[in-house]
Structure formats: structure tokens, C-alpha cells
Symmetry: C2
């Protein structure tokens, strides 16, 4: 990027465009079309992911690009096995169980591209700044990269779904991960018929979006009353 753009100030119109990306990104598990996407698009998305923050600048991620149908079928098998287990866990709540069974939760075979994102704890180890006290921080970095990838995909008109109904030991063996490398995400990417107005799980009446004020506290856990924050509370309609 040109150096003068590093210190850029964004105007109101540019902010709106950015927030449009944030608010219209969806977790996509259905409505994939069979239109494939270009190498340039894959490159753009991965480059955005690689520019995520990482603890101690350790960049501990890898991206395994998967098109092979044999691999995908094996991953799908693992999904089906784990889905059955989840159905079993809802045996005491028939209504919820029926709802769960009606949900489409992955697009492993129908999407154009699968990407496994992994965490390599040995990269630039043993001394990684910021990871000596909080070891999991390396994994957090990989998740930041995944979110960059997800947003970039939205801008490129590509839907992304994260399959976490999956046995990681199955996955590791299917794609030959060494023991020291942990799979963090299995993503399905592809063009979609449309990006839905609301999240699928909200449309399907599984759960609702919480109010923003439900997840904010002031100064300490559970404090919503702190008077130092009255200005902000008034603004946010607490």
C-alpha cells in the first residue's frame, strides 16, 4: 500500500461503506451458486487475512485451500457423524431437536472452495512477545485473521460459512496436519444467490440478536449504573 494511505483519515461516506460491509456480512450455509470465483479474488481475501494483527507479530496462521472432492466428502462424513451426536443431545427437548434437524448448517460440497485455517504454535517460538503469559493468544490471532478473511469475502461478493460441527482429529488426519498444528476453522466459500437480511439462525427463529446495551458494562463486571457513564448511557438509551 502507498505510504500516504497508512495514515489516511476516513470521511463519513467511507465510514458508511465500511460499516455496510460489517453489517451485511453473513454466516452462509446455504444458497451457494455453482459460479466459481477467480484466482484474484482468492488472493485478495487471503491477503486481507494475512494482514490481521498477531501476538508478538508471530503470524501463526496457515491457509489450506481445498477443492478436492475426496477430501470434502471425508470432511462431510465427519460433519454428519457429529451432527447425529448433537441430535442425540437434544433427546429431552423434542421441539428444539426437530428445529435443529431442519437447519442447514454447512455447505462443504456445494461451495466453490473450502479453506482450513490452522495455528502453528512453533512459529517464531519459543519466545513470542505476549504469549509467555497468555498462551492462547496465538490462537486469538488466527481468529482475527479469519474475521479479516470473512469481511474481505463479503466485499468480494463471496459468502463464508464456518463449520464447527466437525471432529478436529478426523480433519487433521484427512489433510495431514502435524501434531503441533491445530485446526482452528474449516470454512466454505462461494458465490451466493443473495446475502440475507438477517442471520439465518435469527430468521429460522433459533435465537435473536441481543441488544447492544445487554453486553456492555462500566468499569467492572455487571455494573450498568456507574454515573460517570451517564452521558454515554443517555446516548445509547440504556
Amino acid at each position: 500500500m502507498d505510504k500516504h494511505l497508512c495514515n489516511k483519515k476516513f470521511n463519513e461516506l467511507e465510514k458508511d461503506i465500511f460499516y455496510n460491509v460489517i453489517f451485511s456480512r453473513r454466516h452462509v450455509r446455504k444458497r451457494f451458486t455453482n459460479k466459481s470465483f477467480e484466482d484474484k479474488t482468492i488472493y485478495n481475501i487471503l491477503k486481507a487475512a494475512h494482514h490481521a494483527p498477531s501476538v508478538g507479530y508471530s503470524q501463526p496462521w496457515n491457509f489450506i485451500l481445498i477443492k478436492d472432492m475426496d477430501t470434502r466428502l471425508k470432511v462431510k462424513d465427519s460433519f454428519l457423524k457429529e451432527r447425529l451426536k448433537s441430535i442425540g443431545l437434544l433427546e429431552d427437548n423434542k421441539e428444539r431437536q426437530e428445529k435443529y434437524q431442519s437447519l442447514k448448517l454447512e455447505g462443504i460440497l456445494e461451495s466453490d472452495l473450502n479453506i482450513c485455517v490452522t495455528y502453528d504454535k512453533d512459529r517464531f517460538a519459543p519466545f513470542v512477545i505476549g504469549r509467555m503469559t497468555i498462551e492462547e493468544a496465538g490462537i486469538y490471532s488466527v481468529c482475527c485473521a479469519i474475521q479479516n478473511l470473512w469481511l474481505a469475502a463479503r466485499v468480494e461478493d463471496i459468502g463464508v460459512g464456518w463449520v464447527s460441527i466437525l471432529d478436529n482429529s478426523d480433519l487433521s488426519s484427512v489433510i495431514n496436519l502435524p501434531n503441533s498444528v491445530k485446526p482452528i476453522a474449516y470454512l466454505c466459500l462461494g458465490h451466493v444467490e443473495k446475502f440475507n437480511d438477517m442471520p439465518d439462525l435469527e430468521e429460522d427463529k433459533w435465537l435473536k440478536r441481543m441488544s447492544l446495551s445487554d453486553v456492555i458494562f462500566f468499569e467492572k463486571w455487571d455494573d450498568k449504573d456507574n454515573s460517570d457513564w451517564n452521558g454515554f448511557k443517555k446516548y445509547m438509551q440504556f
Copy 2:
């Protein structure tokens, strides 16, 4: 958001603006100014965070907004204690130790606002879609929210630093976290003199950015040769 914007297609100019945000976001630990920022800005940043994807739509995050100096001083104490431990770990590498000591790694007191982002495993539990096989997926969702927050802050001209040289048990006790809630990030936010051309740890010659091709494999771990990907490889100059 207006419904028609949910399915928006982004043009080339809009893509450039989005990627400008991605590439100019920095991990900021110094150069905070004493200019405070508005309630509206805090709201915008938190709203973006709250629109992150979450496993089973569980939205397991909380944001504790911290301005109180007593709290910050206690957190800074924990940082200083953990920093000393890290210096001790580099006893066998005097050059690296000296370099580490020269780095400015947090802006707890100088930034305008601290935010602790937490993970609540009990939210909408026990049955959370996608978390029955991969329990950590709830934490991954919180990290996605943090990355949304970080990017939104950049658009709002606010720098963010993530302090992970910190004892989480100290932090939990300082801000009264219940046992079931895990602190994931301690963030320092504020206006900055400038967003640097390159990451601080690169400018300080601690580590370099890896090449994108170093972190990509095809179909399986460690496979860079797969001929099905020749088109992409040519494009990416592997």
C-alpha cells in the same frame, strides 16, 4: 441497516476503501494523544463488534468499558510484573533481551479508554450449535468481535493495542469477573499522532512480515506443488 444494503454489491472504489482499512490498521502501543473521543465513536465501535459472527448465534461477548485510573494502575502493575518475567526468560540471549526491554508494549494509562472483552460460556448454554464438538468455538467468536472492533476503530481514527502481557487472574479480580467468565482481551484505545507505515515490531526489527505464499498450502498440509493450483500459483508468484 436498510434491507436493500444487506445484499449490496461493492464496486472497485468501495473495495479499495475497505482494503485501505484492513492494510492501515495498526497495533498501537505508543503515540497516543490526550484527545478524548466521543460517545458516538464508542457506540459505533462496539456496534461493529456486536455484529461479528458467533457460533450458534450465541453472542458470548461482553465489553467492560474502563476509564477509572485506579483500575488501570492495578492492570499496569500486572503488566509490569509479567514483563519482568519475560525479561528473565531471555537471560540466555542478551541481544534479544535488550531489544525486548527497549520496546513500548502497552498504553494502559496514556490511552483514552480501556476495554476488557470477555467470554461467557453460559450464554444460551448448554446446547449451543457448533459448540458441542468444538468447545473453544465460543472463544473464537469473541476474537472475531475483537477484530471487528479493531477495524471499526481504525475507520474512526482510533488506535487500538491489545495487552497480552498480563495475568488474567489479576485482571479478573480487579474488575470482578465471575468464575464462569473468561477475559479474552484487554484493549487500549485512543487517538494517535499517526498510524505508522509498518507494524511497530517490524519497524523495531523484531520480526518481519512473512510472504503470503509462505502461509498457503494446496489440498493438504505442506503441499505447495499441487498442479491443480498452477493457475493460482502463477498469479501469486509462488
